[in-house]
Structure formats: structure tokens, C-alpha cells
Subunit: 433 residues, 2 copies
């Protein structure tokens, strides 16, 4: 019998360990070897950094020929101030222990500043592409978005929930839903946690969830994924959808602050420009159509409209714009109709640099009103019996929203394709890796 007490833990490399003259031991991947004649640069890639090391046979007890790009090692050396190196320091290697060797050369230019290959090659060799520091930086930013989201909402009394993705009915309607057999029954992959987060408002008042969302859409665009990460929240006791928009504005500010505070290496590497989240303009759908010179028979904003509207407000100092009061017919059955004009819904989109990243709004909370709206939309209330229970037994006024994580990251980093904001993207052609 042994005992394990949790004390023998190794710490990963951080920039704090870089002091001129310090002896440093770290484990890393051989990112690149650059022979320079009398010496060689050995770029060491850790999980977050790329540290420059120098090798000479005089200072290092091991032979450089033992190493190749893609090898893993534990290296020891002396830290030396070097203004031209990343982080202002380099490591003068004194020795290393080889931990493992690859059996093949990288099929992509992993050590290039940017990968530079086609998106097809990137996805084909995804497990290699992600080893490129620029490529992987998107996922540290994604981590920061999630963490900023959670910290803000927890500090504002929201409870984190996890709800099922295997469901008996789609929440968002339409045919864009993956279907499977569940012990002899038909089941569907959740298009959103909508029903469940509403249910939980009656339990916890305010809830949020970060979990996968599924859309079986067949389009093959640069801005759609078939599986993505939804950042959802739902809150009770609102007076109107503007309470949700106020919360989102403060939330976005908190996320940006969190990124600025903790993700400087990735922001610098990618050259990402964080938006300032000041006052966000909010226009109605009709106002938006007018601003961009759209026609009168528009019922929704298409991608080109979103870009135009984004440009309009960017020129006036805002990376964001809310669009409210969409035609009710284009919004889901759970959206509350506007009192002023029941042809429009108390719901909104948020555009970020010309791309919709959020849909949200006030929901119906009254049982009879929800049943009536279902009937008006030719839905059978019996198909939604367990969902309707939440209204039958009482619900406070409430609303909420969903943010698409990959879209937020794509826009933050100015990525040309949303696939680069997903570790292992799922689209009509990709189910692997």
C-alpha cells in the first residue's frame, strides 16, 4: 500500500521564471531548430509560450543531433537577457533529456508565424495545425471568454447549470435537427438549452450554461458550424428585454476586461484589437432596415445587411449594435409579442463587427398566453406538455440570450473562417478528427 498526499506536483513553465542568470529546467517540444554555424537556436514550445534556447557543443553536455522538430524533452539551461528574443530572455542550454520522438515530420509549417496553408489542409491535419502558436491562441482567447462570462454571471447571482443535449423535441423548430434512436424512441440533439434554462429560472432565478449546441444545417459557410459552444443565460424578474440587454452590455465589458487582464500573450501574438464596450446603440429592426437602405419587404437581416449595419455603427464609434423588435413571425414561439405592436417580438440580436453573435429577448411567462401563441403558430400544445408544465405551475417574467462562443472568438481575432475558432470543427464535410 502507498499513500498519495497531493504534494508532489510539478509546475508548468511560466514567464515568472525568467530572471537573468537563473538556472531553469523546463519540459517542452522542440518547435524549431535553426543551425547558425557555430551555434543553433532551439525554439522550445510549451503549452503557452515559445522560448528561444541556444545550443553550442561547449555549453551543452548533450548532442544536438539527438533532437528533431517535434521531439519532446526536459531541458536545463541558464537564463540570459536577450532583447531580440521573445519575452526578452533566452536559455543557454546546458543539458537535456529526450522524452519522446515523432516518427514523421510535421506535414504543416507548425513553426511559421502563421500556418499559411489552406483551410482544407488545416482541418485534414488538425492535430498538427493546432500546435502552431498563432492557431492555438484562439483557444486561449476562447477560454478567457468563457471564464469572463462565468465570473461575471456568478458575481451577479447566476447559477451554473448543465442540461441534457438528448431531448424529445427541438426547442427552435424547423428541420435543422439531428435525430437518433434512444432505446427505441426518437430523440434529438438540442438546438439550444432554451426549455431547460427557462425551467431553471423557476428554480434558481438566474442561470447560465456553457455547453454544446447542435444545428443540422446543410450550408457550408465561413460563419456556421454544426456543433458549437453556446453561452446561454436566462434571468427572472425582468421588466422588459432591456434588462437582458443591460446585463449583456455589462457582461461583454467584463469579458473584455478579463481578456485584457489575463491574455496579453495571445492578444499580442494575434494582434487582436479588443473592442471598447461603452454605450451600445440599439435600433429597431425597421430603423436598421432604413439605415442600410433596405427594402420594405425585408423580414430579417441577411449576412450582407449585418455587415452594412456593422460598418455604419463602427464608423460612429461602436463595434456593437443591438437590433430589436424583429417581425414576430421570424422569432420562436416562446418569444413575447410586443405590446405596442404584436407583429413584432420583444426580442433582439446583437451584432459584433457586422456579425450576429447573440439572439435574446423576453419570453412568454403566462401559461394561457403561451398556449395561445403555439396555436397561432400551428403548433400542437400537447407536443410540448412537459415544457408547458413550467408555466402551469408558475413562472416569473423572464428573458435571456445565447452567445455563440466561436463567433465571438472569430470576430475578436478577425479570423476569416469560423472553423479556426473551433478545436475540431464539425461541418457538412468534417466529422474527424
Amino acid at each position: 500500500m502507498k499513500t498519495i498526499d497531493g504534494s508532489r506536483r510539478t509546475a508548468p513553465f511560466t514567464l515568472d521564471s525568467l530572471h537573468d542568470g537563473a538556472t531553469l529546467t523546463l519540459s517542452a517540444c522542440v518547435h524549431k531548430i535553426k543551425p547558425m554555424g557555430a551555434f543553433a537556436f532551439v525554439m522550445l514550445r510549451t503549452g503557452r509560450y515559445v522560448l528561444q534556447a541556444t545550443y553550442t557543443p561547449e555549453t551543452c553536455e548533450n548532442d544536438l543531433s539527438a533532437l528533431r522538430e517535434g521531439a519532446y524533452l526536459t531541458a536545463t539551461g541558464v537564463v540570459r537577457a536577450e532583447a531580440r528574443a521573445n519575452y526578452g530572455f533566452e536559455l543557454v542550454l546546458t543539458g537535456f533529456t529526450l522524452l519522446s520522438q515523432p516518427v514523421a515530420d510535421y506535414p504543416l509549417h507548425v513553426s511559421a508565424r502563421k500556418l499559411g496553408c489552406s483551410i482544407d489542409a488545416n482541418l485534414k491535419y488538425r492535430s498538427v495545425a493546432l500546435r502552431n502558436p498563432h492557431e492555438r491562441a484562439a483557444f486561449k482567447i476562447a477560454e478567457g471568454v468563457c471564464e469572463g462570462f462565468r465570473r461575471f454571471l456568478m458575481a451577479n447571482g447566476f447559477t451554473e447549470i448543465h442540461t441534457p443535449k438528448l431531448t424529445a423535441a427541438g426547442a427552435e423548430g424547423g428541420a435543422n435537427i439531428f435525430k437518433l434512436k434512444y432505446f427505441g424512441r426518437d430523440a434529438f440533439l438540442a438546438q439550444s438549452p432554451q426549455f431547460y434554462k427557462q425551467t431553471c429560472v423557476a428554480v434558481f432565478d438566474r442561470v447560465f450554461e456553457i455547453d454544446p449546441v447542435y444545428r443540422a444545417e446543410k450550408h457550408n459557410s465561413t460563419r456556421h458550424l454544426n456543433e458549437y459552444t453556446g453561452l446561454d443565460f436566462e434571468m427572472g424578474y425582468i421588466d422588459s428585454m432591456y434588462d437582458v440587454m443591460e446585463m449583456e452590455t455589462a457582461l461583454l465589458r467584463a469579458i473584455v476586461d478579463h481578456l485584457a487582464a489575463y491574455y496579453e500573450p495571445e492578444l499580442k501574438l494575434t494582434g487582436a484589437v479588443l473592442p471598447s464596450v461603452g454605450e451600445i446603440p440599439s435600433v429597431t429592426f425597421l430603423e436598421a432596415i432604413e439605415l442600410i437602405g433596405g427594402g420594405k419587404n425585408k423580414h430579417d437581416l441577411d449576412p450582407a445587411d449585418e455587415v452594412k449595419l456593422g460598418d455604419y455603427f463602427r464608423e460612429r464609434g461602436s463595434d456593437f449594435v443591438f437590433v430589436t423588435h424583429f417581425p414576430a413571425a421570424k422569432r420562436p414561439f416562446y418569444a413575447m409579442d410586443s405590446v405596442d405592436d404584436p407583429r413584432t417580438a420583444e426580442s433582439f440580436d446583437l451584432l459584433f463587427r457586422g456579425l450576429e453573435i447573440t439572439t435574446g429577448g423576453q419570453r412568454i411567462h403566462d401559461y394561457e398566453q403561451q398556449v395561445a401563441k403555439m396555436r397561432r403558430m400551428n403548433l400542437n400544445p400537447d407536443d410540448f406538455a412537459s415544457y408547458l408544465d413550467i408555466f402551469k405551475y408558475g413562472m416569473p417574467p423572464h428573458g435571456g440570450l445565447g452567445l455563440g462562443l466561436e463567433r465571438v472568438v472569430m470576430q475578436l481575432l478577425g479570423l476569416p473562417n469560423i472553423r479556426q475558432a473551433s478545436l475540431f470543427p464539425r461541418d457538412i464535410n468534417h466529422l474527424e478528427p
Copy 2:
């Protein structure tokens, strides 16, 4: 056009607002009305608390008959110290505004200390059952487990990832996998993020993920769910699986500390006893079998064995016990064989109060070794081409583990059925709500 600046946000009720003599306005659900003759108790349920209010026609400007259990209101009153009430205070109601009314009475005893109904009734009216404070407390504890897990791992250099649940092949083998059509191809719901978290070790060194996991198992037990929340981590540069076990021990301590610091209301309400995580004993599978007097032809621990082993170590002061070196044939193909005895694997389980909550271990990192082991286990390496790429292009020595969130919560709270640790459990009979 309007502008939204994020400043007009309401704060939810917290215990900090309870001061003798203070005027308090809060939004809440009418949890219970107890007429006492000259006055009435009105228990107000917020998202986390149940506050006692008193109503008399003399002090309150509204009529009590407007309220029923399950109604939502905004109430105003004066806080009064009252030792017999929850939190030591009650609210003397001066007025309220009704926000919404239910159309039916609760079908369960929501305001009882414990629900007291069968698990079938609980699940049938799940959206109502969760409104019971004791029932919902499990999910605040679950939130705390997740947050403690994340905080500890982030502080230890782990990166949070989200990986696809739609996959081309099962990571854990066997027939217990949900299958669906994905644009004409066969796809499967992930049994674990195993392949992806390993892939990400070559990218970020250390990663973790909190996401759903699917098992199409047909058994209908008190300890299995078909969809559950997996807490996974994977770390590079380990010397052996003991590095993973050290990390888990420190992690569990951090989770317990986090619960003690932030979840006192729920711990008090449920009477949960947090384990102390000191030195965790670790026995080999063979030692374990001997300790519980099992026969020689055992190849795995069954639930009764786990209970016996848990009792054995509980009597000796530990709620936890690691079991290592299981027969290799019972572990997955990615498990590293033990050097000392290749019939056993460098993998472990962790039992918590007699229930397995973790499986983990060191993984194979060498390409040839992984291909050879697949062949020995009658698997075709071609079926795992994209997974094998990660080894071909280089992997550091690594290992990791998975924790089942619902099992951890079940054991922390001593719940008789794991379904009570899942908001909307999925089992062979339940796909709704």
C-alpha cells in the same frame, strides 16, 4: 435609437441585505402561506434562499387573498431580527406587487423540507420537484464542484477546452454507444473526450474539459445515467500515473475547500458532510481483492466490492481509496501497460465512499507501441488513423482522468439515486423533461 450602457442592472437578494430595521424589496416566489389566525407566514423563495415574511392586514397595504403558493411577486417590508426564522431574520410585509400567478397547484410538496415522493413522481414532475430547496441544493453543490475543479486546474496551468461530442468512432469501445446519421455518414455520441484531450496535450501541455458524455448502457441502476457531465483533465510530461494521482488528490482538496468556503447554505440544508482529503491510500487491484476477501478469478471490482473496499478504508479514516494496476485486458487500448507486469495497466480508479468516481492513468505516447497494442487487442489501426496522427507527429508522456460530476455530488450528499444529482436525468425510461 436608444443606447444601452449596462448600468441599469438589478441585484438578486442576498443575506447581506438582512439588517434589523432595514427596508427591503425583493422579488420571489410564494413558497408557502401559513395562516396563523391574526397573521400569516408567507415563505418567500428566491433562487437560493427561503425567507420568512409575516403578513398582517394592519401592516401590509395589499390583501393576502391575492396570493397563492407558486405566485411570483415583488415584496417590500421591514427586516426584523427573529431568532427562530431562517438566517435569524424575518420580513414584516408592508406591500407587494403580484407579477404572475400559476394556473394549477403544485403536484408535489415543494415547500416540505424534503420532497418525500417516489423517484418516479419526482422525475415525472421534474420542473416542479427542482423548486424544492433541498432538491435544488444538489445543483448548487454541483456548481461548486465544477468551479473548484476549474479554479484549481487553471491555477495549475491547465487550459479549458471544448471538444466535439459528434464523433466518427467511439473512444471507449464496446457497443454502448449512441449512433446517428450525420449528413449521410454514421456518427456516434462521444463516450469520453479521450482522443481529443490527448490531442490537446500536444497543443497546451495540460487541458481540462467539463462537458456531456454519453453511454448507451441499458442498465437501470441507481448509479448510472445515459448522459452525464464529465470532468476530464489530461496532462503532459508525467513520470508515471502517480503524477496524475497526486494532481487529483490536490484537486479534490481544492474542491472541498471551495465548497466549504462558498456553499455553506446548501451544506447546512442538506446536512452534507464534506470529506477530509488528507493522504489517500492507494492499493493495487490484487491487494484490494485480498483486503475484501475476493476470489482469485476476479478481473474487476463489482459494485459490492467497491462498497466493501470503501467501508474498509472508511473505518481506517479515509473516504477515498485509489486502486491501481487493474488487469490490462479490462482497460482501454490507450492505457499504458505496466513495465513490471504487462498483464496489468498503469491505470487507476478512485473510489469515494464506496463508489468509483474516477478512472485514469498513464497513456501510451509512442506511435509504434500504440499500433502494436491495438493489433494485440484485435483493433484495426486504420480505423483510428486520425487519432494515431497525434503519436506519429510526436506526443510527450502523458496521463489524465475523468470524474463523473453526478457521482461526486451523489456521494457528497449521500443521495440514494444518481438521478437526483442530474437536473433532467436521461435513463432508459426518461427522455423528458
